[in-house]
């Protein structure tokens, strides 16, 4: 079955003429047609343009590009010229982007074929992909369960073999968490590694674009094309991108030997369910067996992460979403009587509940009299949290931890209680606040639902993350499993 091939093999086959881009594209489009009615991973399909593109590639259009012929899906947060880019929201249901995001440009230049735009929590706010205007995404491992969020569509599509790779974004865990819940490999790069130009902003100092695929090696191929300096993004760093793919190629079997892996005790305390803990422990044992040195570390300010994040992210979101006003694009209410009516009804009708909640929290914490107590305070606790990691990395090379406290939950289970949804993010938020790169790697199952192992590295050490994950995936096969019915 060609959807179990690695990206490395797929692009080599296309380059050698053994598989055609058209064949690959058709294969995945057929799987989408067969399964996506149930899973709802795509908001917009691009079947026609995909087929045209594949034909062009077979005629030589993307010769000598590293990913020629690779089918891919983009989270519907990345602007794609001529295509609806909805951000999972009614506010942008009618928004056909007039330009391409840098990530979209670069992956296209690398030879990929875009099959569609994936479903997501509205404006990237959520951890279950249930806030989307286009309906929830179902977890292919059990369709009564959530896939995680906000990049739920991308994670589920890769898990179900509807695409070999998909882009995502991670602000507080929105790549790592759905990767864990869907049993796929996901990477969130260092803040500033990937351009945010064209990536619709949620929280500007936290958002980062990354990807999902079925292995670290696959992710390395995609990240290689995405990463790098972009002069259109002032927060994108001017720093050479290492050869991620080449490094994995050259990697020996003893990569993990002597690697000091830190386990933060705050991530293994109460709250982490026992069954998940066992899966994580087994994964750590594998690292140890391969020669890694396991060290207990402490990240003492971990308990401040949720409150810090839920001040900073909504504040930045409330500001970034102020441009959605029914004037120049997007949803406009019917027959506005005056300017105020235009604003309040367009925004009241265009935004869903979770988005409205966060906008209001954000406006509140920035408002006169509250700025110091909330926003300024949260920026200080942010530094304390980041400092914890800097200190830890003086003694360890990597940090390993759970991604979530439990596997996927049922659809609808947490919708009435936003706070309990927020508290779920406790293990992913700290690395986001510190801007560190992180991965989620499939590590096992609990009652048939996937559990992910989180790996964190110092700033700009994506190669080390990929290397460690790749080493782990040489002697384990969790990442190769397929949900029943999607083999």
């Amino acid at each position: 079955m060609s959807h179990d091939r690695s990206i490395r093999d797929m692009v080599a086959a296309v380059a050698a003429g053994k598989t055609s881009a058209a064949e690959l594209t058709t294969h995945y489009l057929d799987r989408i047609a067969a399964h996506d009615e149930t899973l709802n991973t795509l908001i917009s399909g691009c079947a026609d343009t995909a087929r045209e593109r594949a034909v062009a590639i077979d005629a030589g259009a993307a010769a000598d590009t590293p990913l020629a012929g690779l089918p891919i899906a983009h989270k519907d947060i990345f602007c794609m010229r001529g295509t609806r880019t909805s951000c999972g929201s009614r506010m942008l249901d009618n928004f056909v982007a007039p330009y391409d995001a840098t990530v979209v440009e670069r992956l296209a230049a690398a030879g990929t074929v875009t099959l569609g735009k994936t479903n997501m929590d509205e404006f990237a706010m959520g951890s279950s992909n249930e806030t989307s205007f286009y309906g929830p995404v179902r977890n292919p491992w059990n369709t009564d369960y959530v896939p995680g969020g906000s990049s739920g569509g991308s994670a589920a599509a890769v898990a179900a073999g509807l695409v070999p790779a998909a882009t995502g974004t991670d602000t507080g865990g929105s790549i790592r968490q759905p990767a864990a819940l869907c049993g796929v490999t996901g990477i969130k790069p260092t803040y500033g590694r990937v351009s945010r130009y064209g990536m619709i902003a949620f929280a500007s100092s936290l958002d980062q674009g990354g990807c999902f695929a079925r292995s670290a090696d696959d992710c390395a191929h995609v990240l290689q094309a995405m990463a790098g300096f972009d002069e259109r993004d002032s927060t994108c760093v001017e720093r050479e991108v290492p050869d991620y793919v080449g490094a994995l190629d050259a990697q020996g079997d003893d990569y993990l030997k002597g690697m000091r892996v830190g386990l933060p005790k705050e991530y293994f305390a109460e709250g982490l369910d026992d069954a998940s803990r066992q899966v994580i422990d087994a994964a750590i044992a594998e690292f140890e067996a391969r020669g890694a040195e396991i060290v207990e570390i402490t990240l003492p300010h971990t308990e401040l992460a949720v409150s810090t994040y839920y001040v900073l992210a909504p504040a930045e979101a409330s500001s970034n979403l102020a441009r959605f006003d029914g004037v120049r694009y997007g949803y406009r209410c019917e027959n506005p009587v005056d300017l105020e009516d235009l604003y309040t009804r367009s925004r009241g009708e265009g935004f869903g509940r979770e988005v409205q909640r966060r906008i209001m929290v954000g406006a509140y914490v920035l408002s006169a009299g509250y700025y110091d107590a909330y926003y300024l305070k949260a920026q200080k606790t942010r530094r304390l949290i980041a400092q914890d990691f800097t200190n830890a990395f003086e003694n360890v090379d990597l940090i390993a931890a759970p991604v979530t406290q439990a596997p996927a939950f049922k659809l609808g289970e947490k919708l009435d209680d936003p706070v309990s949804m927020y508290l779920n993010d406790v293990y992913t938020l700290p690395a986001s606040l510190a801007g560190l790169p992180g991965m989620s790697v499939p590590a096992g199952f609990v009652d048939g639902l996937p559990v992910g192992l989180q790996l964190l590295a110092p700033w700009f050490e994506e190669a080390r993350l990929l290397g460690a994950a790749h080493a782990y995936q040489q002697t384990t096969d969790w990442h190769t499993k397929r949900p029943a019915g999607f083999e």
Binding site: C87, S205, S234, T235, A368
Partner: protein, 484 residues
């Protein structure tokens, strides 16, 4: 009750860059609507700001010119409010850490006294777009060409005590930004916008009264009138037992009054916070010193140098240094005359502030568009100075140059044979002829009516078609008449 006026000015200075402060769109005035609004200016989802280096440079030059502190680190902040000409729903400005602070401008008052006006801060921000209320029936049109144009907002201390002082400050600032080459100063096009904060208080009081802000003043004359009106209005209100309402007002030049704007319900809560799409601007010593080296000679220094080097008085020097273009023109003119700068300074000043200024005004031109170049004017002045032509003929030559009727004073003098006759023999011929032809007037002179010599000089001038040197004619006539 004796009242004291307290005025502070906030001036928005549009920087004359090629591209906008955060986007690469062009900044030229007058383009078709929305043809200079890029994806960033329209605030499409996903776009990001990138800072224009020239804006930082210009702001630094400005800070140095007003003797201010240049912040080693300054931060852009978002200022939130909803209005259709503000596409992002926030303006990128500066709040807690502005790029320039603690400067001053020294002004000269009517009586010649000098006064220092403090400048609290000058910060960078982006301009908003334009709302067009008249063009559409029940709708307002939004043109975002101006959105994103770089502005320096310069805030003075409330140090001014009269409308005249405020105007002197505004004029000086206006000249300065043009001198620095950072602003074209075109008030009609909105490049330089002045808002006046005005309040009054009893003389001797140290507390400030409630102030109002008057906007939409696009000339110095209107600024003066608006302030004067507002001061009187506030005094009237207070003297009749009322209180001044803190509000924004607009000046109506037709009615010569200020009016309250539709009252802004609540004070805005701008929810400032540092813009997370931008990193702090760091300015090191080397950058500041390199900017300092780029500073042109400023108006005050130039004025003093003109007085010393060109022998012109302070009043003339002030007039000539009003703008850099004018000052440069003056210097080029004197240089073109050649010889001793001190001798030719005053005549050059007179020609420029007199004949040239008059002709330019008459035709609605500025010095920059002058049809007479500095070289041409200098050449003309030289010919008057060396007596080739009289001053009177010089005016004719000037008009000819202005109309483009000749390439140089010399060419015109040559073509029209305007050379002044200084040859004694030739003049003597005319003088003898006039004495012979006007016996009555000669007799009058001999009878003691010496003033009649003027008539006789005129006759000689007529006979010589204006070309005889009048001084020589006069001398010779008197000598010959006295010898009779």
């Amino acid at each position: 009750m004796a009242w004291e006026t307290v005025i502070g000015l906030e001036v928005h200075i549009q920087l004359a860059t090629q591209s906008k402060i955060f986007s690469t769109a062009p900044t030229a005035y007058g383009a078709e609507p929305n043809t200079q609004a890029s994806a960033v200016d329209i605030a499409l989802p996903g776009v990001l700001p990138v800072i224009n280096a020239n804006v930082i440079r210009m702001a630094t030059l400005f800070g140095l010119a007003i003797d201010a502190d240049i912040a080693p680190t300054s931060v852009f902040a978002r200022k939130h409010y909803f209005y259709p000409d503000l596409p992002k729903g926030y303006q990128i400005s500066q709040f807690e850490l502005p790029i320039v602070a603690n400067g001053h401008l020294d002004i000269v008052l009517g009586d010649g006294a000098e006064k220092r006006v403090g400048i609290t801060r000058a910060h960078l921000e982006e301009d908003a777009g334009k709302s067009l209320h008249e063009a559409f029936d029940r709708e307002t049109g939004i043109d975002l060409n101006r959105a994103g144009t770089p502005l320096v907002e310069c805030v003075s201390e409330p140090d001014m005590r009269s409308a005249a002082e405020a105007v002197a400050y505004a004029r000086k600032l206006h000249a300065l930004v043009q001198y620095l080459g950072i602003c074209d100063g075109n008030m009609q096009e909105g490049s330089f916008r002045v808002d006046a904060n005005v309040s009054v208080r009893p003389v001797g009081s140290s507390e400030f009264g409630t102030r109002t802000e008057t906007k939409n003043v696009n000339s110095f004359r209107f600024l003066e009138k608006a302030i004067e009106f507002e001061v009187e209005r506030q005094i009237d209100v207070l003297e009749s037992g009322g209180t001044v309402v803190q509000e924004t007002r607009l000046y109506d030049p037709d009615a010569d009054e200020t009016r309250s704007m539709r009252s802004k319900e609540e004070a805005h809560d701008y929810r400032y916070f540092p813009d997370p799409d931008l990193l702090p601007v760091v300015i090191d010593e080397a950058f500041v010193e390199s900017a300092r080296a780029d500073l042109p000679e400023l108006p005050d220094a130039k004025r003093e140098r003109f007085v010393a080097a060109y022998g012109v008085g302070t009043e003339d020097a002030v007039a000539l240094t009003q703008s850099r273009v004018l000052a440069d023109y003056f210097e080029a003119t004197v240089a073109a005359v050649g010889g001793d700068a001190k001798t030719h300074g005053k005549p050059a000043a007179n020609w420029i502030m007199g004949d040239l200024s008059g002709a330019l005004n008459r035709d609605g031109l500025t010095i920059a568009d002058s049809p007479v170049s500095a070289a041409q004017l200098g050449g003309l002045i030289a010919r008057v100075a060396d007596n080739t032509i009289s001053g009177k003929i010089g005016k004719d030559v000037f008009e000819a140059l202005f109309k483009g009727e000749g390439e140089s004073a010399d060419a015109i003098i040559e073509d029209r044979g305007l050379k002044q006759i200084t040859d004694t023999g030739a003049i003597e011929g005319f003088v003898d002829q006039v004495i012979a032809d006007n016996p009555d007037q000669v007799q009058q002179y001999l009878d003691g009516k010496t003033k009649i010599v003027g008539f006789l000089v005129g006759q000689v001038m007529k006979a010589s078609k204006g070309k005889a040197n009048p001084k020589e004619v006069n001398q010779m006539l008197v000598a010959k008449l006295d010898a009779l």
